[in-house]
Symmetry: C2
Subunit: 350 residues, 2 copies
C-alpha cells in the first residue's frame, strides 16, 4: 500500500482517487486555493459540487493550507490542476520535493508556445521543479479517453501514462492499474501530450456539426449531421498526426488512445463539443463563450498557442499555408470570429 | 451532362442519386429483384420505403425487368447492391458491358476469404466482368463516412473513390463532385475497401458499451459509458491498421475517411451499433439477431470471412495469437456466442 496525494480537487483530480483506492492505496485529496468550496463540501460528506456525486468515504480531503500535512509521508503526488495551474503547482510543491523526491504525475492537458517551440506540460512542470526531481522521477502525464464522471462510477477506462522517464511511468502504472483502470505506458511523451491538448481544439470543430444541423431545423438521431461530423473527425486525426510530427513526436501516437480515443470521448461527453455546437448554431463568438457560463474552454487556450506556432512555422517555411486546413479554420473561427462554414474542399491527406 | 444508371434501389443506391443530380446528370435508378416494392413506391411518387423520405422527382426508376432500357445510353453504372449482390450484378451486367464498356462503381462493402486470401469487392466484381472492362475501366469502390439518409438530405458528405485504375476513379470523381459531396481519390484500394468492411465488425464492439451501461442501470448522456466505447474505438483503429497491412494495403489509409471517419459514422448512425448494444445488454446471440428484424448484419458477414482468414494466418505463422485481441474477441462473441466482457487488459499497440 502506498500513500497518494492528489493536488487539485476539480473533477479529474477527484475522480482519479477511484483507481488508487481500488488498488488498495491511501488517497489524500488536496484542494487548490480555487477548490475551497469543493473541499468544504467533501468535509461535510456532501456530493462533490462539480461531479455532482459523492466521493468514496475513504478519500481524505485537505484544504490548500493543509498541503504540508497532506504531503507528509506521501509516496507519490498526482496533480489534478488545470493547465494554467501547472506552474503554480510546480512552485508550491518544489520545497517539499527538494527535501524528498517523490513520484509526480499530472492530468493537466495543454501546450505552451515558448522560445519558438511548442512545449508539452510535463516538460513545463519539470522546468519549475528542483533538480533533484530530474531523471527517473520526471513528471508523468496522463492521456487517453477519460471522462471524470465515468471514472468515478468505475466505468472501464483505458489511459496512457507518458513521460521522459519510462521507469517513472511504469512505477505510476503499477500504483494505478486495477479492475476498471487500464494503464498503457507510452514512451512518446511529446506525441501523447500533444494529442491530449489538440483534441480539445478539434472537438470544437466536430461540434459545429450539431449546431449547423439544428440551425437548419434538424434534431438528433441516427440520421442527423453525422456525415459532416465524421469527415471533420477523420481530418482532425490526420492533422493531429501532422502537428505531432511538427512538434517532434511520433504521428502513430495520434492513432491510439491519446488521439482517436480521446477525440471520441471528448466529442461524446465534453463541454468543448457543446461550445462548438453554439458556434455552429451561428452564435457570435462572444455569445458562445458567454453561454458556457465561465467553464474553462481549453479549446481556446490551446488554439491561441497553436495559432502562434503556425504563424512561426509558416514564416520559417516549416509548414505550407495549404497544410492543416481544419486547424487553421478553427483558429480563424475561435480567435478571429470567422464564419464556421467548414472548408471540406480543402481537406485531404496534407 | 452524363447519364448515370444506379443498379440497386436500396438506401445507399437511392441516396447516391442526389450528388449526381446536383452535378447536373440524368439519373436512372434500377431496382434488383429484391427492390420491386421500392420501385413500385417510387413509380407512384411515394416516399422511399426504406429511406422513409421522397426521392427528387427527377430520378427515373426502373424495375429489374427494365434493366436493358435503363442502361441504354448510360455513360456510367453505379452498383448500389449489398455485398451478396455483387457477383449477381457482375453476371447480369456482363452482357451489356461486353458490348459497350462503361464506367463502373459500387457502394457495396465487404471482404471475401477466397483462395487463401482476403479479397476486396472491386476485385471480386472485376473477376465477374468481361475482359473488355479491364484496365482503365476497373471498378471503382466508394468508402468513407456516408449515412444514406443524410446524403439524401444533402448533409455535407466526404468520401473516397478507390480502385485499381486511378483514371477511372478520377473520371467518377469528376461526375460526382458537387456542392455537398466531396470526393477524394484514394489509390490504396485494398486499404480503403478493407476499412469499409472492417468498420462494421468493430462498430459492433463499440456498441457493446451502450448495452453494458444500460444493463448496469445507466441511461444516455454526457456521463455514460464513453470511456469504454472510446477505448474500443481506439483499439479498433489500431487493429484496422494491422488487418490492412496483413491484406496488403497501407495502414495509414485506416487513419483517414475510410477508417476513423467511417467508424465514427457507423457508431453514431448505423444498425451495427444497435446490434452491438443488444449483445452488450446480455441478449443471447440468436435473440440479438432476432431483434434486428431481418436487417442485413454486415458485421456478421465480415466477421465470418475474417475468422477464416485469422485461422489461416495463425496456422501459417503470419499472425501471433496475441495479436488483434479485439477482433478475435468480436469473432468469438458473434460466431461462437462468447460473453461480451471486453478484454481491455489485452489491448495495446499490437
Amino acid at each position: 500500500m502506498a500513500v497518494i496525494a492528489i493536488v487539485g480537487a476539480g473533477m479529474m483530480g477527484s475522480a482519479l482517487a477511484l483507481p488508487f483506492l481500488a488498488a488498495g492505496h491511501e488517497v489524500r485529496l488536496v484542494g487548490t486555493p480555487l477548490d475551497r468550496e469543493i473541499v468544504e463540501a467533501l468535509r461535510h460528506s456532501q456530493p462533490h459540487p462539480k461531479l455532482r456525486a459523492p466521493l468514496p468515504a475513504e478519500v481524505r480531503s485537505y484544504f490548500d493550507s493543509e498541503l504540508e500535512r497532506a504531503l507528509d509521508g506521501a509516496d507519490a503526488i498526482a496533480l489534478g490542476v488545470s493547465s494554467a495551474g501547472v506552474r503554480w503547482a510546480g512552485e508550491v510543491l518544489s520545497p517539499f520535493l527538494a527535501r524528498t523526491p517523490r513520484l509526480l504525475s499530472m492530468v493537466s492537458k495543454g501546450l505552451a508556445w515558448q522560445d519558438e517551440h511548442l512545449e508539452v506540460l510535463p516538460d513545463v512542470l519539470a522546468r519549475a521543479l528542483p533538480e533533484t526531481m530530474a531523471g527517473a522521477l520526471a513528471p508523468v502525464g496522463v492521456a487517453g479517453p477519460c471522462i471524470a464522471g465515468e471514472l468515478l462510477r468505475q466505468v472501464p477506462t483505458s489511459v496512457v501514462f507518458t513521460g521522459r522517464s519510462t521507469q517513472a511511468c511504469e512505477a505510476w502504472a503499477n500504483l494505478a492499474r486495477g479492475p476498471f483502470y487500464y494503464v498503457h505506458v507510452e514512451p512518446d511523451v511529446v506525441g501523447a501530450e500533444a494529442c491530449a491538448a489538440l483534441k480539445n481544439a478539434f472537438a470544437m470543430g466536430v461540434g459545429f456539426g450539431a449546431g449547423v444541423h439544428e440551425a437548419r431545423g434538424g434534431s438528433g438521431g441516427s440520421v442527423a449531421y453525422h456525415n459532416y461530423e465524421s469527415a471533420v473527425f477523420a481530418q482532425a486525426i490526420l492533422e493531429m498526426q501532422r502537428m505531432v510530427e511538427l512538434i517532434g513526436g511520433n504521428p502513430q501516437t495520434a492513432v491510439g488512445l491519446p488521439g482517436t480515443g480521446d477525440l471520441t470521448v471528448t466529442c461524446n461527453g465534453g463541454r468543448t463539443g457543446r461550445f462548438g455546437k453554439w458556434l455552429g448554431l451561428g452564435l457570435p463568438l462572444a455569445e458562445a463563450i458567454a453561454k458556457m457560463e465561465g467553464a474553462t474552454l481549453e479549446c481556446l487556450e490551446v488554439l491561441r498557442e497553436l495559432d502562434a506556432a503556425l504563424s512561426h512555422y509558416d514564416r520559417s517555411g516549416r509548414t505550407r499555408p495549404t497544410e492543416l486546413p481544419l486547424l487553421r479554420h478553427l483558429t480563424d473561427v475561435a480567435l478571429r470570429a470567422a464564419p464556421v462554414a467548414m472548408p471540406f474542399e480543402r481537406f485531404g491527406r496534407a
